[in-house]
Amino acid sequence: MSGLAELIAERLATLEPVYVELDDDSAAHAGHPGAAGGAGHFSVTIVSHCFSGAPRLARHRAVLDRVADLIPHPVHALAIRAYTPDEYFPAHERTAR
């Protein structure tokens, strides 16, 4: 994991996620304008109880707020999928826990 990815993961840890998957998609965007050197495209799937009762916009804001100072440099883009544990884990998995 790159240093930048680690930094993002560290920031998102404050949302107390039960699951985080952070992908560095930078290579796929190499060479397009605004992504100098092909750096800085990330996507994150984050699952947290924090999102319970929060509408979509508020969830994305919660994530973006934590990395706002990194955008647009060095983070050019951060795709976000934010779920509550109930939404993310299938019901049969939950009952098995």
């Binding site: 965007h29 397009h32 304008p33 605004g34 979509r56 916009l57 994305h60 804001r61 973006l64 706002a68 955008i71 647009p72 883009a77 951060l78 795709a79 976000i80 999928r81």
Partner: protein
């Protein structure tokens, strides 16, 4: 007119506004291309689009107006809806079609 006033006028003056990189005919960013495609699939062929690459002040201004750091940004009836990910999720759940189809309250 300040940039913030200009943005307010744009989003209040048009039912559907998309701030994007490039144009609907020639998007210059994958996320803006996706946003355009989603609007088309929702049956919105005509919308007010603004190419933020053509206006650095506006590009900065929309980030402050919506308190949202990234592009694209969708507005419907003057309300900030979200960026590309939110548009995709709302499209997949059918919410976006509802928002776009609903008549503006009198």
């Amino acid at each position: 007119m300040s940039i913030q006033d200009k943005i307010r006028e744009q989003v209040k003056g048009h039912r559907v506004v998309l701030y994007m990189k490039g144009t609907p005919q020639f998007p210059q960013c994958g996320f803006s291309a996706t946003a355009t495609e989603i609007l088309k699939r929702c049956g919105v062929d005509e919308f007010f689009s603004v190419n933020v690459l053509a206006d650095p002040d506006l590009r900065q201004g929309i980030k402050e107006y919506a308190n949202w750091p990234t592009v694209p940004q969708l507005y419907v009836d003057g309300e900030f809806v979200g960026g590309c990910d939110i548009m995709r999720e709302m499209y997949q759940s059918g919410e976006l079609q509802q928002v776009l189809g609903a008549k503006k309250p009198a």
